[in-house]
Symmetry: C2
Subunit: 213 residues, 2 copies
């Protein structure tokens, strides 16, 4: 099993990034209290998390918005380009290939893979579609660090295993299957319904007057 | 501004649900410590969160897996059908319409909306595509509680406003734009890159040996 612990830290750091992006344009400084108010964590938690990466806040003054954004980009490993493979060119795979936000975040989808002969050999959103048999070799030989898996459930473990044999560092699994990776390979599993379920929870708790939580 | 606080609780509850699903089939009981180990929160936090919804754990014995799953479904408001509208039938919109997991979660996409005359009047994955001019009336008259927004950034606030005028309770925004909703309407914003960025962070922190976090 991969380590579970950092997941919860990653979610907090992601929340700080999102909160920073939503600050009014031109804001120069932000306090841990303001970040806490916008994310729901405590100011002490904000200070503790950020202090782990260096001393760039000042007591009573707060953090520089620009410096904190730059630091979070570095923490997320997005200060250099990371090469990404996408496996499974269906509706979701095509949407991911066409999504413009990866490139500006430093994440570059360099290759897509499928088994459908009508798709293999084509190009979608500038990305060549290759046969999935080439996945292991591409990961090994083309400096591909991350893989997004958007194949049917029955095919998921097989393509994850191929990516792992090639030396993949992280796998993002959208397939509705529990997949396993060896220790040292990072895994996140998600599905298209996750955010809608969270919204449903938010509506449900708020209608029930549970916003004291 | 909508309330921010419950977001962080929702993320914890979602993590408990995910951890439960990943327990070995046939597990009868689960302790707060086991849930804590799998989610990265503390056992005290797990007990505190779950105790807010009633006394269904027993000290020294733990929670019934079946009862806890049922309770979490209820907390997420997924114990009855919720009607959902999807606005913007591009690649992502089409992938969401084709996604099978919503229905089993109690979330039913009953209508899709677009402005493209080639799409309006058609049916995708069993869901009729209507003109976005009908959105407000559909929300008001057809008991639609949630809306997923997958339109271009420039169109996002306009369709959110229409859904709000119709009485929508929650909005899930995938458009790369900051949108506003009045108090009382729940909003979650996300983007296709969010999970890949989190994976990148996980890989980066783990390569840096920061898993003591």
């Amino acid at each position: 099993m991969h380590k579970r612990v950092p997941d919860v830290v990653v979610l907090r750091l992601a929340a700080y990034r999102r909160a920073l992006r939503e600050f009014p344009a031109g804001s120069e400084r932000v306090s841990s209290g303001a970040l806490a108010a916008r994310t729901g964590y405590s100011a002490a938690q904000v200070r503790k998390d950020l202090s782990l990466f260096g001393q760039f806040g000042q007591p009573g003054v707060g953090y520089s918005v620009v410096a904190l954004e730059r630091e979070l980009v570095r923490i997320f490993g997005l200060d250099r380009e990371r090469r990404v493979a996408l496996v499974g060119v269906g509706n979701l795979g095509s949407a991911l290939l066409a999504y413009n936000g990866f490139r500006e975040a430093g994440l570059r989808i360099v290759a897509a893979f499928d088994v459908d002969p009508r798709k293999v050999g084509g190009v979608i959103a500038g990305v060549p579609v290759r046969h999935v048999d080439e996945l292991e070799g591409a990961v090994a030989g083309e400096n591909i660090e991350l893989a997004m898996i958007t194949v049917p459930a029955a095919a998921a473990q097989g393509v994850v295993d191929a990516a792992v044999r090639g030396g993949i560092k992280g796998v993002l699994n959208f397939a509705p299957a529990v997949v396993r990776v060896p220790e040292g390979v990072m895994l996140r599993s998600t599905h298209l319904g996750a955010e809608l379920e969270r919204l449903s929870c938010l509506v449900n708790l708020s209608l029930a007057g549970r916003d004291e939580l």
